[in-house]
Subunit: 413 residues, 2 copies
């Protein structure tokens, strides 16, 4: 492909190359394992790449198991808190406020169950399915109202009142839009509702600032921008001030105070450990710890600055190349309102996604009914990657190559 | 140490060596990684050893993540069922009836939540803490009766009636006693109660026979006799006939029918997948699959025969050497009523445990207030191991070497 007019043209490949050359995070790219096919991977917001260090760390974790046997437990037992403490600065929490354990779904179930009473359970209809499903289930079991609202969460209109429990995603999984966390938190608090944040699409890509906003509860996933591996354990955040008064609905032996004095009734640990349930997954936690460490080393400010620069470039190229071909930007243009992925709507989004993967070596993902989601992971995505991916997408669309693929969405991965 | 009277003396080391030489499972020992210190490990019932194959499998699983990225999901997505299908024959279940996912605690929470109504939640006071805690929590949240009974579960006296939910361990974690699963299942069913089995201390060591007994629900752990690694995912069993009518209390996107058609309300998958919640832990599942495969290769009949032979030897040596030193057998003498560990009660069990670990290179575990638990893992424990461990224990006790250790139990691992 032609690189355009050279470095002075902001739409040129030369300009993208120059941005990569000036990127302070460029060195992180080689700290990830390259995939065998050398794809242009724009799906780190679904599953992050494998850090080089994680390979060795997993081998070491296995050997620790083989060598130390049960003698490893005095160190392993603190892995959920230790990994949580490493994650805390990325989301504006303090040590002792974050646990890495269970899945995001189970963690959300624990937190909703800890605070739900007679009030409604509130979320937006566009929230990620598992968040909605957890609320649907608890509402059905307790016979309380499930209140799903249309449109993006807005502080002025957030439909909640005293005793309600609200679950919101900080960054929307389809649109990439950032919710105004401080304003929404203030609105919920003022109305007497409890707000639980889902940080799955923000942690590791944009700053969160939980404590600064007075946020009390959050959950999130570690297999996206935190590079913890497929199905890696999720995390939960409970502000220190709330820990002693909240109880997980799942009472288990790892949440028990003085766990190994076994012949007693349940008496939850006073710390955040009360939100543990069963035995924590040590191999999975080792992988999460490496991924989180790498992310924290880069620092959330630098990661966010690069995410903004990459998505700005993507939007500029979309406007110039793709809008004329029938694409529409489904992500906010204001960088302060945008996460680290860009959603492009197109009536043929599904066959375009298939063609990108199968003909062009570009891996985006598809979200029904009509969105191609292009994620940039600031630790390893470069400006030239963005240029190449959009260049290939415009070529496919311009030539109609995607029409060779079935128009009806199949199984998405 | 003196080996006694030679092979004709059943208490001699020579007799133990002869039994090892004749052991059809002897070859499995070298399929496990030897620990660096070469301890006499009698705690495989707490954490099983690392299989050699698991090291390579974990590396392959990491590389699969690095290479295939999201393209790995079409295979990974079935890992909970595939691993469950491999486990099924070890517990007398059929393909499609077992899922490996979440922790044992969370799985028990899901099953109790699926069947609990207005009836009492019933268990024995000696059941494993996390089982009791799950029931305590659900009873408190629903305002139903928690009924804990003393003594071992007995079909004639099992205190349950219509609508009650009973949770029993197949093998008791302290005593190693085997509950009469068919009789208890029949008694519960006849009384209109629903019974959930915890197989943590039986799966992989003794036959379970779930379907043959008409058992409908079970959970268990994979890091003991199934060698899945520290904190490895647990499993759950739901008899095929019950799947379509039961719902997990934790509604999540992996339990959803047609999971990737995202813009819908929750509609659980008709199969056992409805008991999934969040994204399954792929690295952890890879390790479980290897451990389970190795166990299934040996076959549960051969494993059980060896477990009986090892525990018979241990009891004979106890009677000859340890009973005169103040030990008492806390495990049934009838091999049909015994799991794969032997509990020795002694008022100084804690310092004896410390001395065994620190002076004698023997790793048992301690269960308060007065039990030394000696587990034999038929895949890798040998008869000479049993002989050596008990020989060292008698030497420590006879010389009073354990009195050098603090009598008060500390943190147990």
């Amino acid at each position: 492909m032609d690189g355009g007019e050279g470095v002075d043209d902001p739409l040129s490949r030369a300009a993208a190359e120059a941005a990569d050359a000036a990127d302070p995070l460029a060195g992180f790219r080689e700290r990830f394992v390259a995939d065998a096919a050398g794809v242009l991977y724009l799906d780190g917001n679904s599953l992050g790449r494998l850090p080089v260090a994680t390979r060795a760390r997993l081998a070491a974790a296995a050997d620790e198991w083989g060598d130390r046997l049960v003698g490893g437990w005095p160190e392993w037992i603190d892995a959920p808190e230790r990994t949580g403490d490493a994650l805390a600065p990325l989301i504006g929490a303090e040590p002792g406020e974050v646990l890495v354990c269970d899945s995001t779904t189970v963690n959300l179930f624990k937190l909703v169950g800890a605070v739900a009473g007679e009030g409604a359970l509130v979320t937006d209809r566009g929230n990620f399915p598992t968040d909605r499903h957890v609320l649907e289930g608890i509402a059905a079991q307790r016979g309380v109202e499930l209140r799903q609202f249309d449109g993006e969460p807005d502080a002025a209109t957030l439909p909640c009142g005293p005793g309600d429990v609200v679950v919101l995603s900080h960054v929307g999984y389809r649109t990439g839009a950032v919710a105004d966390l401080p304003a929404l938190q203030a609105a919920a608090t003022e109305r007497g509702a409890t707000l639980i944040w889902d940080l799955s699409h923000s942690a590791g890509a944009i700053p969160v600032g939980l404590r600064a906003a007075g946020a009390e509860l959050a959950v999130g996933c570690t297999y996206k921008y935190l590079n913890g591996g497929p199905g890696a354990p999720g995390y939960l955040y409970v502000a220190r001030e709330r820990q002693a008064t909240l109880r997980s609905p799942i009472w288990g032996w790892f949440g028990q105070r003085d766990q190994f004095a076994m012949e007693r009734g349940y008496d939850p640990d006073p710390s955040i450990r009360r939100f543990l349930a069963g035995t924590p997954p040590i191999l999975g936690l080792a992988a999460v710890e490496e991924g989180v460490r790498l992310t924290a080393e880069a620092g959330i400010a630098a990661l966010h600055a690069k995410a903004v620069a990459l998505t700005e470039r993507m939007i500029a190229l979309h406007d110039a190349w793709l809008a004329p071909l029938g694409f529409a930007l489904a992500t906010p243009r204001d960088p302060a309102r945008r996460g680290s992925h860009v959603a492009l709507a197109h009536p043929e989004a599904w066959p375009l996604t298939r063609a990108l993967i199968e003909r062009a070596g570009v891996v985006p993902d598809f979200r029904g009914p009509d969105v191609i989601r292009l994620g940039v992971a600031p630790l390893y995505t470069g400006h030239a990657d963005v240029w190449d991916a959009l260049d290939r997408l415009r070529a496919i669309a311009a030539r109609g190559e995607h029409r060779a693929y079935d128009a009806k969405p199949g199984r998405v991965t």
